[in-house]
Symmetry: D2
Subunit: 138 residues, 4 copies
């Protein structure tokens, strides 16, 4: 059963743009917004007292992306200080959906949705343990 | 006006997976499928006799992503030889939509849709010139 | 004339290791230590009140690497919190040398030396302006 | 015992520069030359009938960088077709040294030296098996 929730905790994580993130167009390379998004999700989970190596050690599972989408509204540039905003908006037995935004000040540069699935090392979907479900609002 | 087309040319480009593309999960990092997709689009355009530096030099425009989405169906792994399949499925005055797949043999690993917009150096959308529209099936 | 200095200011910058930084070997990909090093140099310059876009706007110059070397002593892993230690150890008319270390706690994981050259947009070496020389200990 | 050899086989591997490889300076990002170099070493080994996953499966070992250095002589740019030239110039019991160049036509853009060490999954150096030593000229 997937739980959708209207109100959910919002996490913020600052990301600085370095040369490594940009491309010859003078802006952040389009795939790198997904890197920033993953940093935001990782830090949201950390704020709740969990981290990926511990989750793997305790539960023998980790998360992989099943779906990702990005709407690019404006470009991030070298040396920008960005805000990665993360909300977990739905959680299922083995999956979780994050809605994220990349902002520069008040300006939304990108809107991102990522669906993650919990799998074991053999690649089989597994139930998300209660301690983690709680983080995702389940 | 956006032109959708039922039949369109399909381009193929081989991509080898190196250590740089993988992550500690032992598979290709989720954002990197968008890198492979961009290589595929670039090479599709090159097969039609165009390349990005020339397009910029002649038309003072280049393409940026407006939207990207990826469905991850199976994981690519170190040393895999992938096939990036690219079709341009719709073209508008200033935009073009690509549908792409990443395959290993017959197995589809990822399905990708990217909407690109033609802009000038000031960031304003501009008309795609006829020579390029033709590539995109317009 | 190159100025070498025995005592120089030491800068520290924290870097967290995310999936994007690792490879299928389970450790940080070897080229990515140079990314971390560049973040450290950028933040050292920022601590001194300068940043790359301003330097370019004011002086019409930027820095490019002329030489880089890394000694890999131990591996950084997913979720590690690293310390990037930066010292500028020599400054010439158009060049600056940084010695950097990547540490996890007290353990030195990598030792890095980078020589940067100041160039103008035409690619010609230019004199480093006094405000910047000062940062580099000149 | 380390074997140095005066004449050694030279491998060539073509690399195309895409947006992902460049930065806001309009050129290939300095760390990415090490990515290109690793592709070149991987393909040199493949030309000799070996690949990393097989080496790991058969010998329970893989190679990690112990040292890397790059001299940057000229910049690679978007859409350049580069030639990665690889020679294995010395081989020890557990280590191998590669000298590599990145060229655009006749122009050498970068000269690279990488020392690799063979380790087991526990991180201990191990003897390079004869089949591989042969590749490296030992």
């Amino acid at each position: 059963m997937t739980t959708k929730h209207d109100t959910s905790r919002v996490y913020h994580f600052p990301v600085r743009v370095y040369y490594e993130d940009t491309d010859a167009g003078g802006v952040v390379y389009y795939a790198n917004y997904l890197r920033f998004a993953e940093r935001g999700r990782t830090e949201a989970v950390r704020e709740c007292g969990q981290n990926w190596p511990d989750v793997f050690a305790k539960h023998n599972m980790y998360f992989v992306a099943r779906h990702a989408e990005v709407d690019y509204l404006a470009s991030a540039r070298l040396d920008d200080l960005l805000d990665v905003k993360t909300e977990f908006v739905a959680v299922g037995a083995a999956s979780v959906t994050a809605k994220q935004s990349i902002l520069r000040g008040e300006t939304v540069l990108a809107e991102i949705k990522v669906v993650l699935v919990a799998i074991n090392p053999a690649g089989k979907p597994v139930r998300i343990p209660p301690q983690l479900r709680q983080i995702f609002g389940g």
